[in-house]
């Protein structure tokens, strides 16, 4: 049984306007996304800004309420649960945010912000101060910091250290599912490597199931078992993390791969840039969202949305032109 299953998830954000502040339009952030994550698996979600990947991640753990669709966690439908009913699931599903500067409360010391979550969710069962202290020390050590720093405030740490604290904050309630929303994008390359290594260690040690969201295909490819490629609220293709180049068939994924500069000046080649920009998610075009930039576009693509279906190589692709 998959740990998390998402069926036809839709999220539209209303745009209000006019004198009466009525809903005049919608931003179609996520349009009918379905996937499942098996226990212990790391699912990558990759796409350019505005493709709906962060909204998807937040909706899956119910930080944002979906407009339509279904979210099933360990067989329980959590889509319609109330705030109170959701509590037991909150500690099982955690999130690591992109920006280590704004995702930690600046007025709480590291100790206080970890203790708050641990006590709220009753992780150690009741209020055993010394047990909580030991647990926090252990956790801080696990993420590669020194426990004697725990009485400091977030601003006293560097970006990489703050991201480690964000990770400790997510792990302190012993979750089984973690959404990592661009966890290394704000970090320098050398620090990015440290945090990625830490996360892969923790994934193993804590037996985590993860959803790893990033715009950087190199990072996702390094870290994930399976990858969803998103474009304008739709999943356009599912890739195997083991062989991205080999499984990529959707014209958008191919374009994405060709747009990434090669890290070797000896293999320099002209980048084959895609024409144009991503269309606006307000009133998205009918048909395939990529039709306007696609080199293989046909009339059918402009009228009809291709379904995400399993193609010849066994991978799911949403494209009429792929066999």
């Amino acid at each position: 049984m998959p740990l998390i299953e998402v069926n036809n998830l839709v999220k539209k954000f209303p745009i209000r306007g006019g004198v009466l502040n009525r809903v005049v339009n919608h931003v179609h952030a996520v349009s009918g996304v379905s996937f499942s994550v098996a226990t212990g698996e790391t699912l990558g979600v990759v796409g350019e800004s505005g493709c709906g990947k962060s909204t998807l991640g937040k909706t899956v753990i119910r930080l944002i309420d979906p407009t339509a669709g279904q979210i099933v966690y360990e067989g329980d439908d959590i889509t319609e649960l109330s705030h109170a009913e959701l509590m037991p699931y909150r500690k099982k599903m955690q999130i690591i945010f992109q920006d280590p500067y704004s995702s930690l409360n600046p007025r709480l010391t590291i100790n206080a912000l970890l203790k708050e979550a641990i006590k709220f969710h009753g992780i150690l069962g009741g209020d055993h101060s010394s047990a909580v202290d030991d647990y926090i020390d252990e956790l801080i050590r696990t993420v590669g910091l020194r426990p004697d720093l725990k009485n400091r405030f977030p601003h006293e740490f560097s970006g990489g250290q703050r991201q480690r604290i964000g990770i400790a904050r997510a792990l302190c309630v012993k979750p089984s599912f973690v959404v990592a929303d661009e966890p290394v994008s704000a970090l320098d390359v050398s620090v990015q490597a440290q945090v990625l290594n830490l996360m892969s260690d923790l994934k193993k040690d804590f037996g985590l199931t993860m959803m790893f969201i990033s715009h950087d295909l190199k990072v996702v490819e390094h870290f994930c078992d399976r990858i969803l490629v998103m474009y304008l609220g739709h999943v356009v293709e599912e890739l195997s993390g083991e062989d991205v180049e080999g499984t990529a068939q959707h014209p958008y994924t191919e374009a994405l791969l060709r747009a990434i500069p090669i890290d070797d000046p000896a293999e320099r080649r002209p980048l084959e840039a895609l024409e144009g920009d991503v269309p606006s998610p307000i009133n998205p075009p009918p048909g395939c969202p990529f039709a306007g930039r696609c080199p293989k576009v046909t009339d059918r693509c402009r009228k009809e949305m291709p379904p995400l279906e399993i193609k010849v190589n066994g991978q799911a692709v949403a494209c009429f032109e792929v066999e």
Partner: protein
Amino acid sequence: MTDHGMTMTKARPEHAGGEPVLSVRHLTTSFRTDAGSVTAVDDVSFDLMQGETLGIVGESGCGKTVTSKSIMRLLPDHVTTYGRETEVMFEGVNLARASARHMRSVRGDKIAMIFQEPMTSLNPVFTIGWQLDEALKYHTDLGRRERRDRGIEMLRLVEIPNPEERYKEYPHQLSGGMRQRVMIAIALCCEPDVLIADEPTTALDVTIQAQILDLMNGLKEKLSTAIMLITHDLGVVAQVCDRVMVMYAGRVIEEGPVIEIFHRAQHPYTKALLESIPKRGNKTRGKKLATIPGIVPSLTNLPPGCRFEDRCPFSDGTRCRTEEPALEQGPDDRPVRCHYPLGSDRERPARVTVSAEPTAQEAQD
């Protein structure tokens, strides 16, 4: 020119243009802060040749942006001081000592700059056309009609569709990639000799980044502008730069042609930086990434020896800690700032691994 400058020039491989367009010597930029004087850029020297793209690479806080802003004199005068020997020679004038009036005539005309954030560097209350026109009005004696034609021609050059329409639009009506194109159009409208691009594609998506990099490469060939590209993205460097200068904590630590930097790095930091990027096509999948333990030292509290010493796997623990290496010719015949450059015959101390578990090292003192 001092001895130091001479060696730097000799070190350079032959390049298309003989004379450098821009020649920087001993650039030292300090800021007055509450914590005392902080030297963000320390004794940086380089030449920029006509038609070449020089990449300046480093992590945040290494001084790459301060270097470019110092050249343009865009730093706040009341807290900034330049070193006594600092020379930024451009057309026979030392820009580090030039008058504000002279700087105004250079900026945007002969040396232009594009910034990381196309959203914040365009004025939101004026049209694209007005902002193009402003540069032309100040720096050329073209008439109104001619300026308009020139502006539209520039928009066409940077491949903006419907340039006549776009000319009348405001920045918010354009996407991020289009705004960066407008920035480039404004920067290039007076045909500058030098274009300084500070992280021009960092805020953009990869497909848009590819468009902008292609555009910059094409324009360089068309207009033979010298480009100084500041970035932390080594992929971008590999894609567009001819020559690279690597900076660390305010110092140049290595420089050379792009292929040599990528294939025969002499400084342990350069090598570690290159190894820490995840590689495409599964080369690093499931494996640990190489990391650089620790963090960049604070500029207010620099170590007496090599600034990379505490993170370096090759530190000898004595000389490296007490004596800062000079930037001198390395084994690959390129300048490097290291007592034990990689690939040298000079006996390197046994690999003293700083820590088996790099993550534990990150804790501050």
